[in-house]
């Protein structure tokens, strides 16, 4: 930098750039004047630091604070100099400021100085001024408009280097206003004979039409004629300009489709013409131009059979003739492949392209493998079979040390899985899952389960695979995997024991993987009796006694590694075993009481509730702990599409995130346990003073069910009840007049069901059908209240899956007297044309002692005869 400061060089520089230009600057008299001025100035203030010295000083700074101090001092000096309007050192100061700007310090106060330098007639000043303008100015400041005039002058300058400076700057900072002002100048420059100017003007034109697309029209003829040039730089920039135009306007795109033969010719010349040293890169002539032309061909050939046809040959030629030993050749091949895949090319050519990409996968250069995987991933849907042929190479890439390569090959593998190759691919992917970084495990495990579900050759393989995924992915797998696995196991009736044995084996080796342990606990709970009975027909069945199983559960329950959710699963398994095991009941009761005073409220409650079940008659417990009913696949799917990934099973074990009801103590509980109370004769549990919230995702489920609101209750005993409101907007059932307000208590054919029982409020369903085959069902609801206080404003609402039609009749009243001294009845009419298993979600509103209470629950325990 210091060399600019030497006067002699400054002038000499300008001189040779163009002797006639600035001739007056060279006149000795002027020179003397300037020298005198400088001497005068020096007396007033010392010469500023040179850029070189500033850089040294900044580098010598030990700490960031030191550096800041140096920069701040220098900035202050520069500001002073600027304020002094010192023209001598303006250049040097601006150069320093640009350095400071690069380091990230504010440098906007140099903007006006840039303009002053740009307006100077001297080349050096202009050069630094324009450099400053490029780096410091942007479209936000009005300052940049002030530069327009200088730019206009310089674009018409006779010296090509001055014009070039102006073009470079315009290309970087041109705004909408400038575009309109200077488009004419640029168009003129595009037509000059000077290649050095033309190539820069073409890129300025790109900027201008980007800013003001209306101006495109005027550049089209010039752009077309640029393609006749020989100069590589001009060709390259002309292709850029045409690309830009094609992207901006479909009409222009059509227009330029006619140029395909010419572009093909240029490309052919590049490949065929001999060695051109200037643009040669490792034996490939002008790869940058080749790549740009291929890209333009892609845009022109896309969606156009004729244009595509015209370029097929040259693409094949490039694809076969390009040297592949160096990166540069592969860059061209890569671009060729992209073009082949994107235009309407012949199928043979497409296969050729996929094969080139397949060959890339074997390349030593990781960058080339990366682009190949990336591209294959994009084309795998369109060219499935061609990509399938490179499966083994793709699988090899799973072992690549580079993370991004691993990720892409994993995705590609999943895209390639089909019925024929699932066994081998899943085997590879399981190995990958076992060893891969944690960041991949969630994705990989979910995709594996999905693939297994879609293409599994048989049930046993399916279950084996899912269990292996659980073992390998461990705690990284997503939450929904537990529930989908349980669903899968439950469906596969013939393999219950086998699955449970596998799980027990796996958990014995490793109790850290929570999802695995949870699934295992669930299975033990459900199928514990079969497990111990040794009914397994496998080669090496596990010999397990009741105590062995309980040992295992105990270990899980007391282990510090187990999460609260896992412990919950284990507790539920233990309570379920109480009806499946016969010799170890005392131990089971002891295990259940472990968490009687646990800090986790959920576990504590579970423990207490399960323990209290032993106080009930055995028949109730047996009913409660019956095997889970088979879940309908469609229900799960519906739930899943609703974003309800916690499939229904989970509701039975884990009730999370309940909305708290009022300020009453949160009392989460497994509502299904109570819902399952199938014996209406059972004495109700002790009324609890707390109000509990139920179903964790009732609202989710409501998303896919029809909802009928209860009709406005009739005023009874002088209490005006609130009219029922719909849970969901837009779903209404017309309130119907009371048809039958008399409860029909004893229905002979179907047992009554307790649909809800909580806080002293009990709702019993009785069923009636016109004939056993009829799809129509009438449910008579009877609500009673065993509290000491009466319940007011009682409103019952219900929702059923979509395949049902539900009609709620008006209730007999809205007031529930205390101590079971009265009841409210309501008729529910259900039409079940598809004979689907009946499920129902309930929502109850009432006021107790002035406090409004909302309860939600799901009823799953309808007798199967109702729809069979």
């Amino acid at each position: 930098m210091q060399r600019f400061q030497k006067w002699s060089t400054l002038f000499a520089e300008a001189e040779t750039m163009d002797r006639s230009y600035m001739a007056d600057e060279l006149r000795p008299a002027r020179r003397r004047d300037r020298f005198m001025a400088r001497v005068k100035l020096r007396k007033r203030m010392p010469a500023p630091k040179r850029l070189r010295d500033l850089i040294r000083e900044i580098r010598a700074a030990r700490t960031a604070a030191d550096e800041r101090a140096v920069v701040q001092k220098e900035c202050a000096d520069i500001r002073n100099m600027f304020r002094e309007e010192d023209a001598t050192y303006r250049c040097r100061n601006l150069a320093k400021l640009l350095y400071i700007h690069m380091l990230g310090y504010p440098a906007h106060f140099g903007q006006l100085e840039c303009l002053k330098l740009v307006a100077s007639p001297r080349f050096t000043d202009k050069r630094i001024g324009y450099l400053g303008a490029m780096l410091l100015l942007d479209e936000r400041q009005d300052v940049h408009l002030l530069v327009t005039n200088s730019l206009k002058n310089d674009l018409n300058h006779q010296t090509q280097y001055v014009v070039s400076l102006a073009l470079c700057t315009l290309g970087e900072i041109c705004s909408t206003e400038m575009s309109r002002d200077l488009a004419g100048e640029i168009e003129k420059l595009l037509k000059t004979s000077n290649a050095y100017i033309k190539k820069k003007a073409a890129l300025c034109a790109v900027r201008i039409i980007r800013k003001v697309p209306d101006l495109m029209e005027m550049f089209i003829p010039a752009a077309r004629s640029l393609l006749n040039e020989k100069n590589h730089g001009v060709l390259l920039t002309a292709v850029c300009l045409i690309l830009e135009m094609c992207e901006l306007s479909p009409d222009t795109l059509n227009h330029f489709r006619k140029m395909v033969p010419q572009l093909v010719r240029i490309l052919k010349n590049l490949i065929m013409a001999g060695y051109s040293p200037e643009h040669d890169v490792c034996g490939v002539s002008d790869p940058f131009l080749q790549v740009k032309i291929l890209r333009l061909l892609r845009v022109l050939g896309r969606h156009d059979p004729e244009a595509s046809e015209a370029m097929n040959d040259i693409l094949a030629q490039v694809a076969t003739n390009t040297e592949t030993s160096k990166n540069v050749g592969n860059a061209i091949l890569y671009e060729t492949c992209l073009t082949i895949m994107d235009i309407q090319s012949e199928s043979g050519l497409r296969v050729l392209a996929v094969n080139i990409l397949g060959r890339f996968l074997l390349n030593n250069d990781k960058n080339i493998r990366y682009v190949a995987l990336n591209t294959l991933l994009k084309v795998v849907q369109a060219d499935y079979n061609a990509v399938q042929r490179h499966r083994s190479t793709i699988v090899e890439c799973l072992k690549d040390p580079d993370v991004s390569l691993k990720k892409r090959s994993m995705e590609l593998c999943f895209a390639l899985i089909n019925v024929n190759n699932i066994r081998s691919l899943v085997k590879e992917l399981l190995t990958f899952l076992d060893k891969c970084d944690p960041e991949f495990k969630a994705d990989c495990s979910s995709n594996l389960v999905l693939a297994a579900e879609r293409h599994s050759p048989n049930k046993r393989w399916h279950i084996d695979t899912v269990l292996k995924v659980l073992v390998s992915a461990g705690n990284y797998c997503r939450d929904d995997l537990v529930s989908t696995t349980i669903q899968l196991i439950q469906e596969t009736t013939s393999l219950h024991v086998y699955t449970t044995q596998c799980l027990v084996r796996a958990v014995r080796l490793d109790t850290v993987q929570q999802p695995l342990v949870q699934v295992c606990c669930w299975c033990i709970g459900e199928y514990g009796d079969q497990l111990v009975a040794g009914t397994c027909s496998e080669e090496e069945p596990l010999e397990l006694s009741e105590d062995d199983v309980l040992d295992m559960l105990e270990k899980i329950i007391i282990s510090s590694v187990s999460s609260a959710v896992t412990k919950g699963y284990a507790l539920t398994a233990v309570v379920k075993l109480s009806t499946r095991f016969h010799n170890t009941i005392p131990r089971i009761r002891k295990l259940l009481s472990i968490f009687g005073c646990h800090t986790d409220i959920e576990l504590q409650q579970r423990s207490v509730e399960y323990s209290s079940m032993f106080k009930m008659p055995d028949s109730i417990r047996t009913g409660l702990l019956e095997p889970m009913p088979l879940l309908e696949k469609t229900n799960i799917d519906a739930a899943m599409t609703n974003g309800d990934s916690t499939a229904v099973e989970e509701d039975d074990f884990v009730v999370k995130d309940e909305p708290r009801v009022d300020s009453v103590t949160k009392n989460a509980e497994s509502q299904s346990i109570l819902d399952l109370l199938s014996s209406p004769s059972a004495p109700p549990p002790k009324p609890e003073p707390t109000s509990k919230s139920a179903g964790s995702d009732l609202l989710d489920l409501l998303g896919d069910v029809d909802l009928s609101a209860g009709a406005a209750p009739l005023p009874v005993t002088g209490i005006m009840p609130m009219p029922a409101t719909n849970l969901l907007d837009g779903v209404t059932a017309p309130p119907t007049q009371v048809l039958n307000s008399q409860p029909s208590n004893n229905v002979t054919s179907f047992p009554a069901v307790t649909a809800f029982e909580k806080s002293g409020l009990k709702i019993v369903f009785a069923f009636e059908k016109p004939d056993p085959q009829s799809p129509q069902l009438t449910i008579t609801l009877t609500a009673t209240n065993s509290n000491m206080a009466q319940l007011d404003s009682f409103v019952f609402q219900a929702a059923v899956p979509k395949s049902f039609h539900l009609q709620l009749m008006s209730p007999s009243g809205a007031l529930l007297p205390p101590n079971n001294s009265g009841c409210v009845t309501q008729l529910i009419k259900i039409d079940n044309p598809q004979k689907q298993p009946l499920r129902m979600r309930l929502r109850l509103n009432y006021t107790m002692n002035g406090t409004p209470v909302t309860e939600q629950a799901e009823v799953n325990n309808f007798p199967a005869q109702l729809w069979q």
Binding site: A95, M102, I128, C168, K292, Y334, L338, T339, K378, Q381
Partner: protein
């Protein structure tokens, strides 16, 4: 199906910015080709820092590209210097890599073995060379002879 080009006319420039940093992460050359909506404010600088950090920590085993927000970073390390280019996400990475090499070769030819020192103390010349190579985020010229002609002419005159 578009695998290469993007029909959306959202690509203002091919190259978003060029960064030349040393192994310690100090910027030696920084040039934006895309106009920044809010200038080079805190968030832009934080982004630079993040990109630099990522480029310098990538191991030899990993490849020289990565996606960063809306664009793609292509970088290559030469001795003590790391050349970083941010490009559109549909750009040909291999060609960009080749272009970085072209820049380095041009510097090498001009400075007779380019070093961090030479780049740092000849900021204006480096910018001049870059301006001969890239304009509006697009390549103008790849021939070293033609790129260097104006710069060498200027040097000749200055030396006399």
């Amino acid at each position: 199906m578009y695998i290469g080009g993007n029909d959306k006319a959202s690509k203002a420039t091919m190259i978003k910015f060029l960064l030349i940093v040393n192994k310690q992460g100090h910027p030696r050359i920084l040039k934006y080709f895309d106009s920044l909506p809010n200038g080079r404010d805190e968030s832009v600088r934080a982004q630079e820092t993040e990109v630099i950090k990522k480029c310098l920590t990538v191991s030899d085993k990993e490849c020289s590209f990565f996606d960063y927000t809306t664009f793609k970073i292509v970088f290559r390390t030469y001795g003590n210097m790391c050349f970083i280019l941010a490009v559109d996400d549909d750009e040909n990475e291999l060609a960009v890599l080749e272009f970085i090499h072209n820049i380095v070769e041009t510097f090498d030819k001009y400075f007779e073995k380019v070093t961090e020192h030479k780049i740092m103390f000849n900021l204006d010349r480096v910018h001049m060379i870059l301006d001969e190579m890239i304009l509006n985020g697009r390549i103008i010229e790849s021939s070293k002879v033609q790129i260097l002609a104006p710069v060498q002419l200027l040097d000749q005159v200055s030396r006399r």
